[in-house]
Amino acid sequence: MAVRRALIMHPKDNVATTVEEIQPGDQVQVSSGGEVRTLTAVEAIPFGFKIALQEIPQGAIIMKYGETIGKAGRLIARGALVHVHNLEGTRARGDLEGGEKR
């Protein structure tokens, strides 16, 4: 299987940003500072999208840059694509009653 790269922006993050096109089954090498770990992509992840570094339960906070970028709308598997289908933004949401503040 091919080895592909993804970047972690902050040690607290539970997602990484892919810097190559990733196919299901690819080994994804994730580097943060000097530390490198590898996980298996469970689905295709395009260049510049996000891969889950661990299983993320529904409702759990999704972190990038060490900050909240939203909540998991459903259970997200390790190695899965994280995007609008499973990540819910929590700010400026007029569709949620009274909105939601983090």
């Binding site: 510049g48 999208f49 900050e67 970028i69 609008v84 700010r91 400026a92 949401r93 007029g94």
Partner: protein, 395 residues
């Protein structure tokens, strides 16, 4: 290092040397079509039917453009529909621009015998003003005279990783040298406002940042819509951004790490130097005109572009008197639109350069263009119209 610029009577330094003809309209456009080296503002926002606050905002744009260091001299015509309002009287605009020591001429169809005659007089004046301006030579000057403005757009995840951090490095360097830098787009700091507020020079400035965001977020909620149907825009989502917070947290990297001096309104010129947050919106037809009116002598659009396709010719954004640069860190965007791109920072993503090397390279590009090298968009004659950022109802 330093750049070569045009020294103005008030001590400010231009990166360009135009004759500006304002306000918008037939007279201004006709003069500019006829005379090389001129600039005007193309917009339908002339002030008629607008509130006093919005009329003052239009006046601020026009006066600010006239005072911009890239302008050598100014012609004002008295035939705009808004000219009857006290804020927009030709004499008022002329007086406030002339206070900077520049030559300002007023033409008036009533006094000059009609619109044809005013155009003819304007053409004659503009030719000689452009000729006089051309006698001025660039001289070497310090980076404290740079005033930069940035917007990030068609953002994707490369923007937060490499493109915006490169701009942040540049901003830190210019601010450290005593220069000025503007960033803004209030909707696009929602989710990242606390990190910015911590960098405010006083608690009042921190409060102003948080208030600007609270106001904008309340407006967003009042729509009853999922903000993701508006912003992030479809091209952002296609480029990998999943929420407004994610976009914001990447966007603020373009502001570097310097202290934030103040929250400025649209087209408001700061009283001192340093890094400023401008409470504006993301529209590129609005934002760059506002930066130029606030004194920017060079502006840049940090482009993601992952969600764009087939756009190998980019139309640029209207900055009227200030050179406009396209930057990108997305290798696909760079491959697609290479002719248009002034600077590529995707080398960081490709592992070929570190952020400091890229930042230094961007700085040298900015110095070159500030010194007279054309930006790619300056090689086109096409100019987009301006959508002035006015916030109050019209009547």
């Amino acid at each position: 290092m330093s750049f070569f610029g045009y020294i103005r009577p008030d001590g400010s330094v231009g990166t360009r040397n135009y004759v500006l003809v304002i306000p918008q309209g037939l007279i201004a456009k006709s003069i500019c079509d006829f005379v090389a080296g001129t600039r005007t503002i193309l917009t339908v926002d002339h002030g008629s039917g607008r509130t006093a606050n919005d009329r003052e905002r239009i006046a601020r744009v026009l006066i600010g453009l006239g005072r911009n260091p890239n302008v050598a001299s100014v012609i004002i015509h008295a035939a705009s529909p808004g000219v009857g309002y006290p804020e927009l009287k030709a004499e008022r605009l002329a007086d406030e621009i002339a206070a900077s020591g520049k030559r300002v001429e007023v033409i008036d169809p009533v006094k000059d015998g009609g619109v044809y005659e005013a155009i003819a007089k304007g053409i004659q004046l503009a030719r000689m003003m452009v000729y006089e301006a051309s006698k001025l030579r660039r001289v070497e000057t310090g980076d404290e005279h740079l005033c930069l403005g940035v917007k990030c757009g068609y953002s994707d995840t490369t923007s937060g990783i490499a493109g915006n951090p490169a701009v942040g490095y540049l901003f830190d360097k210019i601010v450290k040298a005593g220069g000025t830098a503007f960033f803004g787009e209030t909707t696009e700091i929602i989710g990242a406002e606390h990190a910015l507020a911590k960098r405010a020079v006083t608690p009042d400035v921190a409060k102003a940042i948080l208030n600007a965001v609270a106001h904008r977020e309340a407006l967003a909620k009042s729509t009853g819509l999922d903000i993701r149907t508006i912003n992030p825009i479809p091209a952002n989502i296609k480029g990998g951004l999943s929420s407004l917070e994610e976009k914001s947290l990447g966007a603020i990297h373009k502001a570097g790490t310097s202290p934030i001096q103040e929250v400025l309104q649209y087209a408001e010129k700061p009283k001192n130097k340093g890094l400023f947050f401008v409470d504006n919106w993301m529209g590129s037809y609005s934002i760059f005109a506002g930066y130029a009116a606030a004194g920017s002598n060079l502006v840049m659009f940090q482009l993601g572009g992952g969600g764009l396709a087939g756009r190998n010719l980019l139309e640029g954004s209207p900055s009227i008197v200030s050179p406009f640069l396209w930057l990108t860190s997305n290798p696909k965007t760079y491959a697609m639109a290479r002719d248009n791109i002034d600077f590529y920072s995707g080398t960081v993503i490709e592992g070929r350069e570190d952020p400091e090397q890229v930042g230094e390279r961007l700085y040298r590009t900015v110095i070159d263009i500030a010194s007279g090298t054309l930006s790619r968009s300056e090689t086109l004659t096409y100019v987009e119209p301006i959508d002035l950022y006015l916030e109050e109802p019209r009547f």
